[in-house]
């Protein structure tokens, strides 16, 4: 029988470690077996199961862009058994990976449009994949704006890339920290992401909005997008329900009849509104 056994993981070597924020790390992962690297491909929006043998698996998005070949990156916060074990890894340690799983952002459908990213905290990693995917073919898109915030300046992830994006001149970048989370040297905005979004009122003409992050950020941003004329089918999000298998079998991520892992994780807000509010 030639059914692919999805539970047998790839072995991945940690090729680079970046300390992003307190408890948040990024790993660059390379395939131990170069043959597997050749066969592996993914698209923006997909996720994977990252594991430590003996500890278990944890689900995160692929945070690097498919346009950057030869490796994948993941960014995670150390908080549970598996992520703590992952966080204690050192350079060249081998971890397991299954995937890629899930659907993708329909990037080709967005050619010629303005793109607005709205996110907070470690909601940026799933969007970073899309952002670099767009930046690597910058001429295919209109205006790109990014609204990103964190509780404090320390909690911002990809600080080095935020600077790079700021300097490029072809992105409208709004980086903000929650009131009280700033330090004296902070030159960015102060205020919650939805507030900054409201003040800058991005145009919805020929535009797509992509929102990811804590549920409260999504909840507060949606009315502002609506006020600016974004139709629900022009707003995308990626749901992050608890997952174990990644292929629509274990049942953990279900929202009504929907399996977030295989039917998503990328949904338009219009699709989200049709689901029971169990996400």
């Amino acid at each position: 029988m030639s059914i692919k056994n999805t539970y047998i993981p790839y072995q991945m070597r940690i090729a680079k470690i970046t300390e992003e924020a307190p408890l948040v790390r990024t790993y660059r992962l390379e395939f131990v077996n170069p043959e597997e690297a050749k066969q592996f491909s993914f698209k923006a929006g997909q996720f994977a199961e990252y594991g430590i043998l003996g500890e278990g698996e944890s689900t995160f998005c692929i945070a690097s862009s498919p346009t950057r070949e030869g490796y994948i990156e993941c960014t995670f916060r150390s908080s549970g058994r598996v992520t703590k074990a992952l966080a204690s890894c050192e350079l060249n340690d081998v971890i397991t990976l299954r995937g890629p799983y899930g659907n993708t952002f329909p990037i080709e459908e967005w050619y010629g449009k303005d793109i607005v990213f709205i996110t907070g905290g470690i909601g940026l990693p799933p969007l970073r994949c899309v952002i670099w995917n767009l930046l690597d073919q910058r001429d295919k898109f209109g205006k790109i704006s990014i609204y990103y915030g964190a509780r404090t300046t320390k909690d911002l992830v990809y600080k080095y890339e935020l600077e790079e994006w700021q300097d490029r001149g072809d992105i409208d970048l709004f980086v903000t920290v929650d009131p009280g989370g700033e330090i004296p040297e902070w030159k960015g905005h102060v205020g919650f992401v939805p507030t900054i979004l409201e003040q800058n009122a991005p145009s919805s003409t020929n535009a797509i909005a992509i929102v990811a992050g804590p549920p409260i950020l999504i909840k507060m941003s949606m009315p502002i997008l609506a006020k600016n004329g974004f139709a629900n089918d022009k707003i995308y999000t990626t749901l992050e329900n608890r997952m174990k298998c990644g292929v629509g079998k274990c049942g953990h991520c279900t929202v009504g009849k929907t399996y977030v892992c295989k039917d998503g994780p990328v949904f338009t807000y219009e699709e989200v509104l049709k689901m029971p509010a169990e996400y």
Partner: protein
Amino acid sequence: METKLLKSSDIATLFDNLIKSGKVVIAPVAKKSGKVFFEQVVSYDQIETDYIQTQFSAKSVVFPKVEELFTYKKTEEGIEIKDTLSQIPETVVWGLRPCDSSAFDYISEFFLKENPDAYFAKRKELTTLITISCAEADDACFCTSVDLNPGSTAGSDILLTKMGGEYYVEVVSEKGKAIIENSANLFVDSPIKSKDEFLAKLKTQFSLEEIKEKIKTAYDNAQWKHESMGCYGCGACAFACPTCTCFDIQDESNGDEGSRKRCWDACGLSLFTKHNSGHNPRKNQTERRRQRLMHKFKYSVENLGIVSCVGCGRCIRVCPAHLNIFENILNVTKE
């Protein structure tokens, strides 16, 4: 479908032939508590013939409570990962009830239709189901309410129905045919017979068509709260259920060796959907009970076209809070 007759006095011989064929034979065995469980047996004397329903279903044969997905070993040269597929044995399940065999149809559709599951596929391929019709039912049985009956052949490879001093044998599949051919001298051909007078009589609790229609709009029914009030969130219903398929994945390590396993899980457990942040999409027991019932009667119909409840009644018998699935369903689909 071929139909045959088997003398009651020959049933032990048929059973012995199965054992001799070298397959693993799983059959009902009575415990001191009086409860009956499916277990591996080596002779007909071990098995229990007088039971309405086994405590757990036979689904563990194709979807074990704990299943090793692979083993690993860390060595100087690297990490060795080996799957466990080659260890899956040829198995015959003897004496399951028609509701349980029809549950195999549903779980096969679930595990194999989209993103087919390698472990389930292998187990299913190597499993033969010899089902025995029900001559008796209890108050928890409600197969006739979900369009099945105590003599349904759905999912079975062979269905045996006791008719006085003999068994009426329906040979449903090629796998079933192979079993019959292996003991050909025990069987004689029979015309198609009506089984009705030998089957248990059950009260039909609801019209499935009506329930399927009404549950479409039942999500916001105020009755859910009342119907789930007693639920402890123990998950016993899911473990007893022949169609529940949810699982967790866990690692077990012993130094540099170990394995990754999947084990049954249940949507009724409070941690089932809980995020590491503390956020829980189904935050109370009402939402979790609703998920379980809506999945059986609505979501699995939308996804696979099949109601994923076979009316075996186990969830009713095991529930420590005496929740009754057909009463719950009736109450949440009232206007």
